[in-house]
Amino acid sequence: MISIKNLHASIEGKEILQGINLEVKSGEVHAIMGPNGSGKSTLASVLAGREEYEISTGSIEYLGENLLELDPEERAQKGIFLAFQYPVEIPGVSTTNFLKTALNQIREARGETSLDAVNFLKLMKEKMKLVDIDQSLLSRSLNEGFSGGEKKRNEIFQMAMLEPRLSILDETDSGLDIDALKTVADGVNKLKSEKTSTIVVTHYQRLLDYIVPDYVHVLYKGRIVKSGDKNLALELEEKGYDWIKEEMASI
């Protein structure tokens, strides 16, 4: 699905990612963990195409294409979805209207016909159930005045609507209570298939109780310093990140 090689990314002259290597295959769930400031969110942003980051070296191949040459919208149209850590509030644009525009632009880019209002609403109703989101929320301005939980739920709802190939969840668990966490994780799990991949970026292990990863990677100072299976996450939960830092310092 996606292959990241020796990726270096910097912002305002500061190098945040210092040589990331990561290979994610169809059907896999990868967790990226790491202490604050290790570059987790930067990696998520770079994958989605955030333009503030400068890529000095390295490559990202996504479904056989050079991802770095694509605009954010092209990436989305080709099936990349970033669930934002801090979803943006956009006054005056309703979630419904926004999603209809997004979905139809994606469909258009894929050579499919646009959905009319009736079919769009039908699809929306169906997907709303997945994340247990209320209709009234969707007619309001996008994320405006939403609680933290509502915003995250809305992200996963958008994911359900847009049916991406590669989903990147950036700290989707932050700000969620345990019930909301279960609902959101449940939604993500229902959307998983052999044809899709998921990258879960998280600081804590608790989300991984519900979205079980095939691989866990530890990011530290802009590099993946450790990889393992889900047990690595449990180990981190138990011991914290300090032992990784110490291990790295001793090298």
Partner: protein, 393 residues
């Protein structure tokens, strides 16, 4: 030898009307003079020098009337040409319209100039709830339409006003409309200003609101060489409301100056103002919002906000709230923001597959349409929406 440009008033003197009131208006105007470089409230709009450079005062222009500009809508349609009401092109639909001599009005320089130069004064009396559409087709160097709207007690009066300046020569429209709203009545006034680079206007709207009455003004500005809007609302009695909504969505070298003022004179009145600006290319936008709360006007609620987005480095914006509060038990708030488009918001939309151009348009569109409130006409609302879409696409 270089000939000095004579001041505006010297040139216009011969055009002044001879009725007692018009002579008086002219004399007062001569005393106070027109705003010049030193006038604080015209600081960013040097109107006199701009007009002197661009307007041929004696030009009569070709009479023109374009029937296709009229809204296909039930109601009264009043056509003016160069400031004069043209009955034969108008459809009154039982509306009470009287053409008469100029009567007393506001006393600021351009209102006085309008009074002195107006050919006559048109009085409209509210009757049915059907909308009243007013069209000004102007081709003379200067036109001075003068309208008074009397809204009777218990009535609702909806006025929609548009100016069509000739595209073949520079024109200056110095319009004056005054609302006199009796107790327990509603007045709505909407202006759509979509001119061009030969159009210069000074547009005065003055509304006197009586007990338990409401007045709403919507001003949507899209283009013009120089447009100055003077909106003044007097909340004369208790439980009055004044609402002001404005949008200036500009590009090219358009220059729009919104000068608004609301005066709370008695207790328990309410005013709300929302103006938004989107400025592109070399355009200039000015917002000046005054709120007066007299000593007697306890329990006043007054809100004002002006938000602007600048899309170009060559665009200029001046914004200034001005609050003068003499009463102590009041709730007043004001705020203004100016900035660029929110990059984070654009990225969010793009990350969902919406292309950059469309993402920007969506955000700006939502920003702009927030000013569309209380228009009370589907056809005008759709027109404004279309103009916003067109400007942003």
């Amino acid at each position: 030898m270089i000939k000095e440009t004579p001041p505006m008033l010297d040139v216009l003197k011969t055009k002044a009307g001879q009725s007692h009131l018009q002579v008086k208006a002219w004399d007062t105007l001569s005393d106070i003079g027109l705003p010049n470089k030193k006038s604080e409230s015209y600081k960013f709009t040097p109107i006199q020098s701009v007009l002197l450079k661009n307007i041929d005062w004696v030009s009569q222009g070709e009479f023109f009337f374009d029937k296709t500009k009229l809204y296909q809508e039930k109601g009264s349609h009043l056509v003016f040409s160069n400031g004069t009401f043209v009955q034969e092109y108008s459809t009154l639909n039982d509306l009470d319209v009287v053409v008469g001599q100029v009567t007393e009005g506001k006393h600021d320089p351009f209102s006085l100039l309008n009074a002195a130069l107006a050919n006559n004064e048109v009085t409209i009396k509210s009757g049915s709830e059907l909308p009243v559409f007013i069209y000004h087709f102007n081709s003379s160097g200067i036109s001075n339409p003068r309208i008074k709207v009397k809204v009777k007690s218990g009535d609702t009066c909806k006025i929609f006003e548009k100016i069509f300046p000739s595209k073949s020569n520079n024109t200056f429209t110095n319009s004056y409309i005054e609302f006199d709203i009796a107790p327990n009545a509603f007045g709505y006034h909407t202006k759509v200003q979509n001119y061009h680079d030969k159009a210069f206007t000074h547009e005065t709207v003055f509304s006197k609101v009586s007990k338990s009455s409401h007045f709403y003004n919507n001003t949507f500005s899209f283009e013009g060489a120089l447009v100055r809007n003077n909106l003044t609302i007097h909340l004369k009695d208790e439980n009055c409301e004044g609402h002001m909504y404005g949008l200036f969505l500009l590009d090219k070298k358009s220059h729009i100056d919104n000068n608004t003022s609301v005066d709370h004179m008695e207790p328990n009145s309410f005013s709300n103002e929302l103006y938004k600006g989107i400025l592109d290319e070399k355009s200039t936008g000015v917002f000046n919002g005054k709120i007066y709360v007299r000593q007697n006007a306890q329990k006043t609620n007054a809100f004002q906000s002006n938000n602007n987005i600048l899309l170009s480095e060559d665009a200029t914006l001046h914004t200034k709230p001005q609050l003068e509060i003499w009463a102590d038990d009041v709730k007043c708030s004001h705020g203004c923001t100016s900035g660029q488009l929110d990059e984070g918001a654009i990225f969010y939309l793009r990350a969902r597959g919406i292309n950059e151009k469309k993402a920007k348009a969506m955000i700006l569109n939502a920003f702009a349409t927030e000013t569309m409130n209380h228009i009370h006409s589907k056809i005008v609302e759709n027109e404004v929406k279309k103009l916003i879409d067109k400007k942003l696409s």
